[in-house]
């Protein structure tokens, strides 16, 4: 699956000698609200991350190579479609479990979390919700086990915040359709086995269809030169007269609500995930500040350091409560897209600020890859932009509370 795309394998990475000392922080004892199984899932994810991903993540980011060898492990901890029912090969977990797994992954690296988010919420979710029974049986078990990797094509070079203006379209050609156009900024694209693509039909309606690797005219060139999400692979999807069988089209979902429902699910995962970055930076800065001595005492003993640390744990705690409550609402199927949007925006911005304050506490050491802070900071510059930019999320809340659309 990977060799032809030159995706990196285990042998390509140098093992770091640094021990991942991360410990969770739970100031408001939110763990008391989790089930024993939630905690077991979290511990398994954390243990796996520490054993298999932390030792290679800095090297993967430095080399800008996706570590493909972690795919079976991601599947094994349940990171691919945690809430997909057992009948389709998923573990059938609740939404809080999904959030917990995304948080543990993003605690390590937003790129690793992105790979799992895309697979879960942007590929498995629409297939589960909108595909025919045959399509579900065909794709979901392989996606859950990691034997198949998927990607999601919505954004185009000229249509980011305004996906409704997309120009990718397909025309009817009897038993199949002919797809033409291009998608950009697509996580997992370079090595994906299939793509869930949103395109306009002959009636100018947005429809979803599954494009499979190997279909003639379908290519996925990798985008190079990112300073962010360097441990995940990003590419384009190019469709040149691609013949897609009609059975690959989702039968009933029409319009933007299809892709937006996927984004809502992914954004929910990001609302949890970003807290992982914040926790890792806070954990690093707290430990460092107690060990680093200047003017004969640990820098944790200075008021300006304490102000940063106190504000960090306060903001983390608020974000944790927000994510937890949102998880409850998701479990009850009551979370609105606007509520999810608020949590994504707030928690990503919170995490980015904490990265910057943590970097400041570590001084010059904060820029080194001996510590994860700078990598998280660079990653979050993508996270604050993808899945709805920070600005668009502000407008979503603005429209929700005023009833007035300020997008145009």
């Amino acid at each position: 699956m990977f060799s032809e795309n030159g995706i990196a394998t285990a042998a390509d990475f140098k093992q770091s000698q640094r021990t991942d000392q991360y410990n969770g922080h739970d100031y408001y004892l939110i763990d008391d609200l989790l089930s024993g199984e939630h905690k077991m899932i979290r511990q398994a994810a954390r243990d796996w991350i520490k054993a298999e991903v932390s030792p290679i993540i800095e090297d993967a980011a430095q080399k800008a190579k996706f570590p493909a060898q972690i795919i079976p492990g991601l599947a094994s901890i349940g990171a691919f479609g945690p809430y997909i029912p057992e009948a389709y090969g998923g573990p059938g977990l609740d939404q809080i479990s999904y959030g917990i797994i995304m948080q543990e992954l993003e605690r390590c690296d937003s790129g690793v979390r992105s790979t799992a988010s895309v697979q879960s919420s942007l590929v498995m979710y629409p297939i589960w919700k909108y595909a025919t029974e045959e399509q579900k049986q065909k794709f979901l078990p392989g996606l859950a086990s990691g034997e198949l990797i998927g990607c999601f094509g919505l954004t185009e070079p000229n249509h980011g915040s305004n996906p409704g203006g997309m120009t990718t379209r397909f025309t009817d050609a009897g038993d199949h359709v002919i797809l033409n156009g291009a998608k950009m900024w697509i996580s997992n694209a370079p090595f994906a086995d299939l793509a869930v693509v949103w395109a306009k039909d002959d009636n100018d309606k947005i429809r979803g269809l599954v494009v499979e690797r190997g279909m003639e005219g379908f290519s996925t060139p990798e985008m190079h030169g990112k300073w962010s999400l360097r441990a995940s692979a990003t590419g384009e999807l190019i469709f040149e007269d691609v013949k897609v069988p009609k059975e690959n089209i989702f039968p009933d979902i029409v319009g933007l609500k299809g892709p937006l429902s996927c984004l809502s699910s992914a954004r929910y995962g990001i609302a949890w995930g970003a807290i992982g970055c914040a926790l890792d930076c806070y954990d690093t800065a707290l430990r460092y500040s107690k060990e680093r001595v200047q003017f004969d005492k640990p820098i944790a003993g200075f008021q300006l350091t304490q102000k940063k640390l106190a504000e960090m744990i306060t903001e983390i705690t608020k974000a944790q409560l927000m994510a937890y409550r949102l998880g409850q609402l998701k479990n009850e199927d009551r979370a609105t897209p606007a509520q999810i949007s608020m949590a994504k925006r707030n928690n990503v911005e919170m995490a980015l600020k904490i990265c910057r304050d943590s970097r400041q506490i570590l001084g010059g050491m904060g820029i080194m890859d001996e510590y994860p802070i700078m990598r998280h900071m660079m990653n979050l510059e993508s996270v604050i932009t993808y899945e709805g930019t920070h600005e668009i999320h502000l407008l979503i809340t603005g429209m929700d509370v005023t009833g007035i659309n300020a997008f145009r």
Partner: protein, 246 residues
């Protein structure tokens, strides 16, 4: 083959240790609990490996209240087939050993594993007591075990080297590093743990033989005294008068 693994519930190693009730009880509030590491990483995993190689069943047993079920489920997620919880406060080693012995006598196990010691109270005698109560051989601190039918070759760590023993028939083994490698439960295991049998049995009428009077935390570390490298006289004086080591 029937394997029994004795597991203990202990606080996570990052727990802040505090005592209550006039320093006679460990303060359990806000503590995250784990399976005692040597029980999990070495005893349980080796039993599962033997089962995978030779067939059989792995049962885990724990003495404690219903709050222990979560760590027991983790043992099931890692790969044990079923579990027994003796519903009683694990008040001392003799009490725990006698409860496990009562169960083991009734069930008849081929091999019984424990970890080498618990990380909470440094307990390490349950295995030995259990062997005595069951009239079985006991091998402590085992770092390697190979099975040939019902004969086992067991390597123990001893001071400065190792000792290789052979034992036949049912026995009790306490396990340490080298015996196996930690296994992280996968999602399939976590899901199957939901439905694996966890039987709760009431305690037999044994009484503990000991009672905890009090605990004391180690004294807080005092400040480090830095002595100038040239000032040997001062160093000797401090080592003699304050540290009293020379």
């Amino acid at each position: 083959m029937k394997y029994l693994v004795c597991i203990s519930k202990v606080p996570d190693t990052t727990t802040k240790i505090e005592f209550t009730d006039n320093n006679s009880k460990f303060n359990e509030s806000n503590v995250q609990w784990i399976i005692n590491p040597t029980d999990e990483w070495y005893a349980l995993v080796r039993a599962i490996e033997l089962k995978e190689a030779n067939g059989g069943t792995v049962t885990v047993i724990n003495v404690g209240g219903a709050e222990n079920d979560q760590v027991i489920r983790k043992a099931l997620a890692i790969g044990a087939d079923n579990a027994v919880r003796v519903n009683a406060d694990p008040s001392d080693a003799y009490f725990v050993a006698s409860q496990i012995a009562a169960h083991a006598k009734a069930e008849g196990y081929d091999l019984i594993f424990t970890g080498k010691e618990t990380i909470n109270y440094n307990g390490f005698v349950v295995g030995g007591m259990l062997a005595e109560l069951l009239d079985m051989p006991y091998i402590s601190l085992a770092a390697k075990l190979t099975a040939n039918g019902d004969t086992y070759e067991v390597t123990r760590e001893i001071e400065g080297g190792e000792e290789v023993l052979e034992v036949s028939g049912a026995c009790v083994i306490s396990c340490q590093k080298g015996m196996a490698e930690q296994r992280i439960p996968n999602m399939r295991g976590i899901m199957s743990a939901r439905t694996k049998p966890l039987t709760v049995v009431e305690a037999s009428a044994e009484a503990p033989l000991t009672e905890v009077v009090s605990y004391t935390s180690p004294p807080a570390r005092s400040d480090v005294k830095l002595v100038d490298a040239d000032n040997v006289e001062e160093l000797v004086k401090l080592l003699h008068e304050e540290a009293k080591v020379i």
